[in-house]
Each structure stands twice: as C-alpha cells, then as structure tokens.
C-alpha cells in the first residue's frame, strides 16, 4: 500500500466513523418526543454527519 492509499484509507475510516456515529445519534433521537431530542439531532447528529461528509469530500479531492 502506497502512502497515498494509506492516507486515503485513514481519511475514509475517519469520515465513516463520524458519519456512522452521527447517524446513530440521529436515529436514537427520533425515539423521543422531546425538545432535547431535536437538540441532539441537530446539534450532535447532524454536525457529526456534516463533519464526516466534509472529511470524505476532502479525501476525494486530495486523492
């Protein structure tokens, strides 16, 4: 594996981790009818997903 491939794999794992955790938070937040659950969705889940998507786009651009 070249250094470039290693970096790509690492970034994909980071992006995947962020997106996965974000989506799990989003899914969990849907099971409660509370304002706090909306806060968790928007303030934690959606932010993590956005970060993950950002890391992925950077990986693709840098590859």
């Amino acid at each position: 594996m070249t250094e470039q491939e290693f970096q790509l794999a690492r970034r994909l794992r980071i992006a995947g981790g962020l997106i996965s955790v974000g989506l799990v938070v989003e899914a969990a937040s849907l099971y409660a009818l509370k304002a706090l659950s909306f806060l968790a969705f928007a303030g934690v889940g959606a932010v993590l997903v956005a970060l993950g998507v950002g890391v992925f786009l950077y990986s693709v651009a840098a590859d």
């Binding site: 989506l23 099971y31 509370k34 706090l36 909306f38 997903v49 998507v53």
Partner: protein, 204 residues
C-alpha cells in the same frame, strides 16, 4: 408496517454497513463504480437520511408531548386538564374538539416550529433558551391570537354560523377586528390555576 423511526433506523444500518465495507477495504474505491458507491455511502445517503430525519423531527414537534417537554410549558399543559369547562383550552382538549396528541399545534399553527422559516428560527431560539439560556418569567405570543385558528374548524359550522351573536359580527371575526377571545375566555389562565381540581384523562 414499520414505523417511520424503524424505517429510519434500517436506513442508518444499511448506510453504516456500506460505509464499513468501503472503509475496511478501500480497494473498491478505485475500481470501476467504486467511487460512485463511496459517493452514495459517504455523501448522498447520509444527507438524505439527515434531511429525512429533520422532516420527522419537524413532524414530531407538532405533538403535545414535544411542546410540554419544555419546563416553562408545563403549566400550559396543566391548563388543558383544569376541571372547569369555562376554560376554553381545557374544554376543547377534554371534549375531543381537538386532537389531544396535537393539542398545541391545532390552535397555534403558525407558532415557532410550525410557521415559516422565521417562525422556525424562533422555535430554535426557544429550544436554546430552554436548555442553555434564561427563559422569561412570563411568556406571551409574538402576535395577537388570530381568529383564523378558531374559524378553521368553527367557520361554516351550523352551530357557529346560526348563533345570532356571531352573525352580528361575522365580518369583524373574519377580519380579526374582534377577537374570538374577547368573549370566549379564559383560555390558559396559568396564573390562577395553582391547587385547582384537575380532570383525569381516562385510560383507553
């Protein structure tokens, strides 16, 4: 038939499995179609899921439980259970004139999360203030209560239209020159309900 929450969870599971498969063996990323698959798993599907989840949350925000989950709204929830049919909100809630699961939204259709984008921003501010800020001692509507919330159901109803008091001022009611609440009050008399007898909602 799965609930919307279960369907969302299934979508999340599919996305995570896809992401894990691609991230674990990044080889396919360079293969034909690999980038398209990665683009779907890391970009399109997560954004689709997040937008869908947001729509579900906006729908959830119409529920009575959602509104009453903020501490400052608890006394308004109590006002729905006052054992006094002279209170407008309590009479509507207890007699099934409104959907109990969407009691707040039924009469406040443009309030915060339920209105346009400006109203939604106010709703976000309310959530922020509830958890991270300082709520005012007394809360009030941003604008006077609009008769259209009442006329949405009562307008055209025989019992309403044939009432002589209503006939005399029908135009004023439509144009909001006279408020329905001028005659039909109190609505949420939250300052005078401490210790009042409450109606117990029957269990189905």
């Amino acid at each position: 038939m799965p609930t919307v929450e279960q369907a969302f969870s299934l979508l999340v599971l599919v996305i995570i499995v896809l992401i894990a498969a691609i991230a674990r063996r990044h080889g396919p990323f360079h293969a034909r179609g690999g980038r398209a698959l990665a683009f779907a798993a890391f970009f399109l599907l997560p954004i689709f899921a997040t937008v869908s989840g947001l729509a579900v949350h906006v729908e959830h925000s119409k529920s009575t439980d959602f509104c009453l989950s903020c501490h400052i709204m608890e006394k308004y929830g109590t006002s729905l259970h006052l054992d006094d049919q002279g209170h407008l909100a309590a009479a509507h809630f207890q007699n099934g004139r409104i959907d109990r699961d969407h009691a707040c939204f039924t009469c406040h259709t443009t309030y915060t999360m339920f209105g346009d984008y400006k109203a939604k921003l106010k709703g976000l501010k309310h959530i922020y203030v509830n958890y991270l800020g300082q709520a005012p001692a007394k809360i009030k509507l941003y604008e006077p209560f609009q008769n259209r919330e009442c006329l949405h159901c009562h307008g055209g109803a025989r019992s309403f239209e044939t009432q002589s008091d209503h006939q005399d001022i029908r135009g004023e009611l439509t144009s909001n020159k006279t408020s329905c609440l001028d005659c039909h009050s109190p609505v949420h008399d939250v300052d005078h309900q401490n210790g009042a007898k409450l109606w117990q909602e029957p269990k189905p």
